[in-house]
């Protein structure tokens, strides 16, 4: 169980996080979703005993992050935002080093990292600095796992990593979850939210929604429409200038639109756009995603 109660951290006058409370059940994958600067790293550092909160309290496995920091440090694996690898050590040397400082060996816990480490083992003599982003990420995860932690804290493990490696990474996390490891992970990629059991949406130092991904989506209170036309550039402009527009954001190949009044007015919108000369216009109701919800909350403030 990871629990945070009213955690607050300021850096001088700059707000890191303010009044954050949540709890993560054992065996859960808990996602912290938000852009850079939202306070994700501050929160991780407090939970991993690296920062003292100004206010509030946090426990990891019933241990207090301030008082019992030594005990916590034995139980957790932590992968900081910048993959913390020694660039001038080889893949194998990095892993062996991290095993040693936790008083264990690669052999002893090989079963834990096997699935992940096997993918980079062919390059075990290569210096970590010469690995690609995806491989670095796998090595960093192996290093965080090698001492068999009960809790895994992964701060933006998928940032800057390509879509394929990202998907593989999430597959690995699911495997780890099945081994009983509790995982707290942060990401700026909204689409990864659906891979978590529960997520917290964080922005500017505070959490504005905690729920299961489906829950967050069903909380989205407006009718959402996906629109397409031949000239997306003009469509975007015209939607922004429409009198009843609450939001209009590009989403992949279409534009997601919500109207000021909660249930939208597709017919008058369609007429407006046809009047504007749009051809091949498509307008259909669609399901909101986490990103729609996030932006809705952001713009609501």
């Amino acid at each position: 169980m990871i629990r945070a109660e009213n955690l607050t951290k300021y850096y001088g006058k700059t707000r890191g996080v303010e009044d954050i409370s949540f709890s993560v059940d054992d065996g859960e994958i808990f996602g912290l979703i938000g852009p850079d600067g939202a306070g994700k790293t501050s929160l991780f550092r407090m939970l991993t005993t690296l920062l003292k909160p100004d206010k509030g309290k946090a426990t990891v496995g019933e241990l207090d992050v301030v008082k019992d920091y030594k005990k916590i440090r034995k139980k957790i694996g932590y992968m900081p935002g910048r993959f913390s690898l020694y660039q001038d050590l080889s893949v194998e040397e990095n892993l062996a080093f991290y095993a040693r400082i936790f008083n264990t060996t690669i052999q002893e816990n090989y079963h834990l990292v096997k699935d992940i480490y096997q993918q980079i083992e062919p390059f075990r003599k290569r210096l970590a600095g010469n690995l690609s982003g995806g491989m670095k990420q796998k090595l960093a995860l192996s290093c965080a796992l090698i001492h068999s932690p009960e809790y895994l804290f992964l701060d933006e493990p998928t940032t800057g990593v390509d879509a394929v490696s990202r998907q593989e990474f999430w597959d690995m996390l699911e495997n780890l979850q099945q081994k009983g490891i509790t995982i707290m992970v942060s990401t700026p990629y909204m689409d990864e939210a659906s891979l978590c059991d529960r997520v917290a949406l964080i922005q500017k130092g505070s959490i504005f929604n905690i729920n299961r991904p489906e829950g967050i989506i069903s909380d989205f209170g407006r009718d959402l429409y996906a629109l397409r036309s031949r000239d997306m550039f003009e469509l975007n402009k015209d939607l922004k200038n429409y009198k009843n527009t609450h939001s209009a954001f590009r989403f992949g190949e279409s534009i997601h639109f919500t109207a000021e009044n909660i249930s939208g007015e597709p017919e008058s919108l369609r007429n407006y756009l046809i009047e504007k000369g749009h051809e091949d216009l498509k307008l259909e109701k669609t399901e909101a995603g986490i990103e729609d919800c996030f932006m809705d909350q952001m713009t609501a403030k």
Partner: protein, 368 residues
């Protein structure tokens, strides 16, 4: 223990994989010693000497001839009266006066030992030292020859005495000075940079989150640099001795022990700097300005402390290399023991303790 060693090994990997730094680490001491050594004259030829020989027996004549037969010395005058010595030096021609005991041969035969005083004009400390050392070497050679088939070896004591500059200020400062500089560089600068680099790379976060204790992190970081520093210290001493004839009159053990003490001091300074900074660049600048510059300018290495303005003299009191240089010079050149350098040693021990305590207190178990 295994944990500790794996840390140390990792640290050595860092050092040995960084070829450029490695080159500086080992190239710099050699280069510096060679530069300083050659800038300061290191050989003597036809040094003017005078001899006072009241005994005028076989042995004293033999020794005199042997000295003069070498290319090193040139006899200017035979001193008749011991009172003249001062006047002779004042003329500034003679570098060294060799004073035999009276009844030299007889004392040697009866007591098994006799003594020669080597009085040198130490206003030019380096030359004085060289001249005295060359003389001693020749006398020593002669004694060995004399003792070759002798079951009761005879002792000829050659006692150097410096006039005008008994403290030997300015003599061979390049060896202790370079040593102070290099040890500061390797121990303080390198240690602080290597610790700060972990902060910059983000690896420190993971080390802190691991069950490693702060002391283990510190010791693991520091141990390789202790080794490197010791190797450097020994290299400098050996180079000085074999290439430039800088003598080691005192105990080698004491010399190394003092080096070790200074290395610890420099390391603790490096640690302190690393706890105060968070970027390699800052660590570098702080090390350069707060350690290297004082070592070069205020320690007496290049400019004698006595000649500095009073403010700087006061400032030099807190510059650790100043004490180290005094100690090393005294041990190497004067051959004194602990009873002469205990004060300076105590100062260094005190400083080391303060710095270590400070840096352990300052070492953060967290990031803020």
């Amino acid at each position: 223990m295994k944990r500790f060693w794996s840390f140390v090994i990792k640290e050595f990997y860092h050092i040995f994989r960084d070829r450029k730094t490695l080159l500086i680490l080992f190239g710099l001491p050699v280069t510096l010693i060679l530069i300083f050594g050659y800038v300061i004259r290191s050989e003597i030829k036809d040094a003017n000497i005078a001899i006072y020989d009241p005994s005028k027996d076989e042995i004293t004549k033999d020794i005199s001839n042997k000295l003069l037969a070498s290319d090193y010395f040139n006899l200017v005058e035979n001193v008749q009266n011991i009172q003249e010595i001062d006047d002779i030096f004042k003329k500034g021609v003679v570098r060294e006066i060799i004073v035999f005991e009276s009844d030299f041969a007889r004392k040697l035969e009866q007591n098994g030992e006799a003594s020669i005083q080597l009085i040198a004009d130490a206003s030019d400390a380096n030359t004085a030292n060289l001249v005295v050392n060359y003389t001693r070497a020749i006398i020593f050679d002669y004694m060995n020859e004399l003792n070759r088939n002798n079951p009761n070896p005879l002792q000829i004591l050659a006692e150097p005495r410096m006039v005008y500059n008994e403290e030997m200020k300015g003599a061979y400062m390049f060896v202790p000075g370079t040593m102070a500089l290099i040890l500061m560089l390797v121990s303080a600068l390198m240690t602080s940079i290597s610790i700060v680099r972990e902060k910059e790379m983000g690896t420190m976060e993971v080390l802190l989150v691991s069950p490693l204790k702060p002391a283990q992190i510190i010791l693991g970081k520091v141990t390789p640099y202790v080794t490197l520093s010791l190797i450097n210290a020994v290299t400098i001493i050996l180079l000085g001795y074999f290439v430039f004839g800088v003598p080691i009159h005192g105990s080698v053990f004491l010399l190394l022990a003092e080096c070790m003490l200074f290395i610890l001091l420099a390391l603790s300074l490096g640690l302190l700097i690393s706890t105060l900074t968070s970027s390699q660049r800052a660590a570098m600048f702080i090390s350069l300005f707060s350690l290297m510059l004082p070592t070069i300018l205020l320690s007496g290495f290049i400019f004698p402390v006595e000649n500095m303005p009073e403010i700087l003299q006061w400032l030099s009191v807190i510059v650790p290399p100043k004490y180290f240089i005094i100690i090393i010079k005294d041990i190497m050149l004067k051959g004194v023991g602990m009873s002469f350098v205990w004060k300076e040693t105590l100062v260094l021990i005190g400083m080391t303790t303060i710095f270590i305590l400070l840096s352990i207190r300052k070492f953060k178990i967290r990031l803020d």
